[in-house]
Amino acid sequence: MSTSENTDRIPPALRTEALEQLLTERGLVDPNVMNKFIANYETNVGPLNGAKVVAKAWTDPEYKQRLLADGTAAIKELGFSGPQGEHIVVVENTETTHNVVVCTLCSCYPWPVLGLPPSWYKDPVYRARVVKQPRRVLAEMGLELADDVQITVRDSSSEVRWLVLPQRPADTEDLTEEQLVPLVTRDAMVGVAKVHAS
């Protein structure tokens, strides 16, 4: 390949900076738009383990049954488990019922499947308000739910960690399990967002 020699000689940081300058000068990339894209991917991509669990449940009805019956065991089937004594309970969001997770005491969180909790999850304001005014807090976070949707707030503890099985978005019938995985966000599995088709 004719470019490999150049690529090897010049540090990638410099080539990246050079390419960004050239693309910006030609109006092909706006650095401010790009910054937003990067921030968006950094916060919304993953966590992968939970997303795999959800995508499997969406495509495998028997797995979904096992997941809702015994979350810890079904999650372990995929090779994900945390320290002993951690019990993960999975609840399903539907057209008429919506679950949202909080830990009012501290910041209990199903980290083997969701990774580290986002900063707002540990915020005392979220923890206090989502219990009293879930519909309003969700709306403030960008999730407007119809008045006839019943909201249940699930309080995590050291014994029970809740995981939300979000609704599979419409128009994704043709997607495979692997293609569904990247759509599932952490926020959807905490219950403060829905999953979107793209």
């Binding site: 690529t7 990638p12 050079a18 390419l19 960004e20 894209f37 991509v45 993953g46």
Partner: protein, 126 residues
């Protein structure tokens, strides 16, 4: 429009439980350029992915001696290949610009004149 990033195999970006991991700032810039250009329709995702697969396959077939695996080096190479392929940016343009950037004096990002005494460290993040 979110880029359908691979989650498994050599073409999947490095992650920690699914969240993207950038070891150095340039990696997130290289990532950002590709997803921004994809979003604006500069190329399709399969086009970029094919270039990435080719770059990784070429490296794996003959890993340069002493060179560690660096995912975003291949990502950047794939982006360059796609942009060179349709004539958007030629590889030697990038090389020339990078060489010019390499000639910048140390502390090039400082707004004050050089030679003046100052006591803050020269470690500005880019």
């Amino acid at each position: 429009m979110t880029a359908p990033l691979d989650v498994d195999g050599p073409t999947a970006p490095p992650r920690a439980n699914g969240e993207l991991v950038f070891a150095e700032p340039w990696q997130s810039r290289a990532f950002g350029m590709a997803v921004t250009l994809y979003d604006s329709g500069a190329f399709t995702w399969p086009q970029f992915q094919a270039a990435l697969v080719a770059r990784i396959a070429a490296w794996e077939a003959a890993p340069p001696t002493g060179e560690c695996w660096n995912y975003y080096q291949h990502w950047l190479g794939a982006l360059e290949d796609v942009l060179a392929g349709d004539g958007t940016v030629a590889a030697d343009e990038i090389s020339r610009r990078a060489a010019a950037l390499a000639q910048r004096p140390a502390g090039h990002d400082h707004p004050h004149p050089h030679g003046e005494p100052h006591d803050h460290p020269h470690h500005h993040p880019h």
